[in-house]
């Protein structure tokens, strides 16, 4: 570990900050504001789902029964485990263990890819059955005239979430690159911490999305 981190330059606090602590806190406040806006964006969709669930419970029940909860559970496992590896990456960064940071980032990227692979399998089944949103709908065998609304919400919500997974993976790759440019120490672990917070948001959204779409109905 020590050999991996040797030779890398240490981070210097930007000149417009008093201290490393002030620099970190500024970044974190920005991150919380961003997270708040993200929660509001997903919040609007959750409210939409709640609205239609209350108005057309039978449509939601029917739509939900066409989702494979086994695949959803596997994806929950992938996301929660990647949340763990990101948490461990932050701890490793705080301890200056550059090698462990990279290992945990790579593990997180692999788990996130696993999530997307499962999502692709799910989506392709939906495309095959024609349970597509809005006027693209051409599914057979549904009795409730509003079941397409469920799948509209399903695609918008899981699609937006999967986009976040993709962006998160991009950020992990960036953090991986960053780990070759600068030495992480107890005084500087900001990139890893921020990626971990973003990833926790991806977890947070999924934790509600999974039961809402797959389990209740």
């Amino acid at each position: 570990m020590a050999t991996a981190s040797t030779g890398l330059p240490e981070h210097h606090v930007a000149h417009h900050f008093d201290s490393a602590e002030q620099e970190f806190d500024s970044v974190k406040t920005g991150m919380w504001l961003f997270i708040a806006s993200e929660i509001m964006m997903f919040g609007a969709l959750f409210v939409g789902a709640l609205l239609f669930h209350t108005l057309h419970p039978a449509a939601f029940s029917e739509g939900s029964s066409h989702l494979n909860w086994h695949l959803g559970a596997i994806n929950t496992f992938f996301l929660l485990t990647s949340g763990l590896t990101m948490g461990l990456a932050v701890i490793a960064a705080q301890h200056g263990e550059q090698g462990k940071v990279r290992m945990n980032l790579v593990l997180s990227i692999i788990l996130a890819s696993g999530f997307l692979v499962v999502k692709t399998i799910e989506y392709s089944a939906k495309f095959e059955h024609g349970t597509l949103p809005g006027r693209l709908w051409h599914a057979h065998g549904f009795t409730d005239p509003f079941s397409h609304i469920f799948f509209g919400l399903y695609f918008v919500m899981t699609g937006l979430h999967a986009t976040h997974v993709l962006i998160g993976m991009g950020m992990m790759i960036w953090a991986l690159y960053r780990s070759t440019q600068v030495k992480f120490t107890r005084g500087y672990f900001t990139p890893i911490e921020m990626v971990a917070i973003y990833w926790a948001l991806v977890d947070l959204v999924w934790v509600f999305l999974f039961p809402l779409l797959y389990l209740i109905g």
Binding site: V47, W69, H138
Partner: protein, 177 residues
């Protein structure tokens, strides 16, 4: 500001907080356990229990979403580090955000759940004819071009559309190939 600088210059300049490894691993296993609880609840066949005076389905839904809420708290407290956040500004951002979200959810829920009690035609209104053509109506191909218009033509749609018989929008020609 300057006294701050003095302070920081004197003390060890340590940003953020260290979340113990055991906390992270503990949260992970708690989350896995709660996922299992959620799955277990969802697989419970509530129709089997023959209880009329309790809406077991609603109770199960509440329990599942309650479990999700606990999981969400664990994620935000320990994985996002909210538990260790000491800056009042950051806490205010996060918590006020949730208060607004709660207002958002609560008002929508109250409106959709109880509007029927003040507006007797509400139940008819929500059964508007969707322009998305369902297979039961015929060919099972795509429906009309435009998006659903919420406030449906109540006059002709309402009587017909009370149950699963959606008439597709009139302008959609059946043979659209």
């Amino acid at each position: 500001m300057s006294s701050n600088t003095e302070n920081h210059a004197g003390h060890a300049d340590i940003p953020g907080h260290e979340i113990p490894k055991s906390t992270i691993i503990g949260s992970y296993f708690a989350l896995l356990f709660l996922t299992a609880v959620m799955l277990g609840l969802s697989q419970l066949n509530v129709a089997k229990f023959d209880i009329d005076w309790l809406n077991l389905h609603a109770i199960r839904t509440t329990l599942i979403m309650g479990t999700a809420l606990i999981m969400g708290l664990i994620v935000s407290m320990f994985l996002m580090g909210l538990r260790y956040e000491s800056k009042l500004l950051n806490l205010t951002i996060f918590l006020s955000n949730f208060v607004f979200l709660l207002i958002f959810v609560l008002f929508t829920w109250v409106d959709t759940s109880f509007r029927g009690e003040v507006d007797p035609t509400f139940n008819e209104k929500i059964n508007w004819t969707s322009p998305v053509k369902h297979e039961a109506a015929g060919e099972g191909h795509e429906g009309a071009a435009t998006e659903a218009k919420p406030a449906a033509p109540a006059a002709e749609a309402a009587p017909a559309a009370t149950e699963a018989k959606p008439e597709p929008a009139k302008e959609a020609a059946p043979a659209a190939h």
